[in-house]
Symmetry: C2
Subunit: 327 residues, 2 copies
């Protein structure tokens, strides 16, 4: 029975990844580590799911604790989902962003090395690592030079560089993702799609003036449904090559403003847009669109969920949370 350890299991991606495993890899023994217990209000029957995992409550800054967990479990796979993954928050709290991305990852892989565990590790990174890129380099493939332009992006580049050293220098079996923006029901509203759809749901339910507040609406991002994301991750854990890096993306770019236009069209509403300069970042990355050719070639993955379908499921999530009779 293969054993997997999921760091940051209690988070948004952790919930969907665990749900996917339970359904699609029924023989896996699932261990999770996090500072707080999972609740996953966005996953149907989450109580049953939680009963089917072994939860280890702890802090990834606590190296002896990590070593004891890895020694005890001797996992075949580790997926590192624990992260502070908000670019905006990284400008507010650069030190904790660095600790909660780079340092905790180093603590995990160094524990694997010291314990002598021979697991496969998936290091989850970010499209933000590319930073400010040239128009000619779009869609981005994995060999484009990185130009990280936020504290978060620097933390992720550092993480990936460490992963490469541990793969090449210490022969750990690590592969890396550069994951583009996610969306899905249950994502924290500090992320842009969740924030927009929540406001849109409030408007639809008559709880808010018909104006959606965003940061810079002209930036272009590549959004992938969370179900497609976690499917890519299990395939990479099983078939990703040691020391290699894989984009996880939709291959399509859209502006932040266009998300609101899509919602307006889907639901026949005319929500307006207000750009709030206080949400602008000191430096921003105007355009990130990825190519998933390498991932497709290595593991046979391609995206399956249409963006409009993601928006509908997120809209449904927010409506169910906002309507008093559901609570």
């Amino acid at each position: 029975m293969p054993r997997i350890l999921i760091t940051g299991i209690s988070g948004f991606v952790g919930g969907y990844f665990t749900d996917f495993l339970r359904t699609n890899r029924v023989d896996f023994e699932i261990h999770g580590i996090s500072r707080s217990k999972p609740s996953w209000d966005f996953i149907p029957h989450s109580e049953d799911l939680i009963k089917n995992i072994v939860f280890h409550q702890g802090n990834l800054m606590d190296i002896p604790y990590i070593q004891s967990v890895i020694t005890e479990i001797q996992p075949d796979y580790i997926i590192h989902l624990a992260a502070q993954s908000s670019v905006a928050e990284s400008w507010e709290s650069p030190i904790s962003t660095f600790l909660d991305n780079t340092t905790i990852f180093l603590n995990i892989i160094d524990s694997v090395r010291r314990v002598g565990n021979r697991c496969k590790v998936l290091s989850v990174g970010s499209s933000e690592q590319y930073g400010i890129v040239r128009e000619n380099d779009l869609p981005l493939n994995e060999s484009v030079i990185q130009n990280p332009s936020s504290p978060y992006a620097v933390a992720r580049v550092s993480q990936e560089n460490l992963a490469k050293i541990y793969a090449d220098g210490y022969q750990l079996n690590i592969c890396c993702t550069r994951s583009f923006n996610h969306c899905g029901p249950g994502q924290n509203e500090k992320f842009v799609v969740s924030s927009i759809v929540k406001q849109f749901a409030e408007i639809a339910l008559g709880k808010k003036d018909p104006v959606i507040k965003i940061g810079d609406g002209t930036v272009i991002r590549d959004f992938l449904d969370i179900h497609d994301v976690v499917r890519a991750y299990i395939l990479l854990l099983e078939k990703g090559k040691r020391g290699e890096i894989y984009n996880v993306c939709s291959g399509k770019g859209r502006t932040i403003r266009s998300i609101i236009e899509t919602l307006n069209n889907l639901y026949g509403i005319s929500a307006g847009i207000e750009e709030d300069p206080s949400q602008f970042r000191p430096i921003d990355t105007p355009k990130l669109i990825g190519s998933y050719a390498k991932l497709n070639k290595t593991v046979g993955w391609s995206p399956e969920v249409e963006f409009e379908d993601s928006l509908k499921s997120i809209f449904h999530y927010w409506c169910s949370r906002l309507l008093p009779h559901v609570k």
Copy 2:
């Protein structure tokens, strides 16, 4: 009176830098921070020098302490010399190498940001950041793509990436060096030139069989005398441009083996060479030679000390330490 704060003041570079300042910038008020008090047995009249500085004993992992020191001093300049700068040691202790390079640097620049101090910061980095490079790219200029190939190198790349974010995103006045190998009297013998010359001095004094043990003798490095290094640093503190990166190097490459040949020629001894595979690294960087054209253009610096003269002064240092009548 300009005030300067020197982190890692008690170390090898800290001693020479302080000595240089005291002699060449007599109006500077010199503050130093380190875990242990300076002693600098390699600096003439070091007791007098120590009396002329304000020493702050503390740990750079202690953020409130750093903030209190910066608030108190309100420095005009900070030079960050504190580091774990041994590549070999970084393979043994990757976590502490990361903390003692990247994390402490982040703690310092974030303290400068939070305190609102408007000092000029010199971030000292390393030639190891270049890693494994193409023959065509030699001598290396600052725009060559970095390919860090040790835990130490990754830590230094992370440091530089953070420096750029703080310069561009938070408008801190930081510039960076990529400093190539140093040599000089008093350098710890875990560094290659010091190790070789110490063994050579033992042979010359009849205290050792005539064989010098080294790691991989074929690797090529660019060595710069410590006096030239610290002269470059003060010029960069005064004239280096915000967000820019400068090689600090001699522009000349030499193999490790050739250092022993040079010593044999200088002193008419025939010391042999033994390559010790236990000193080989999991991944090594075969050839690092820098170009100092940018530094020269910006601040007018070029190297002044011949390598042979460095070797003579290091030989003298080790002889004086090894001869019982001097002790």
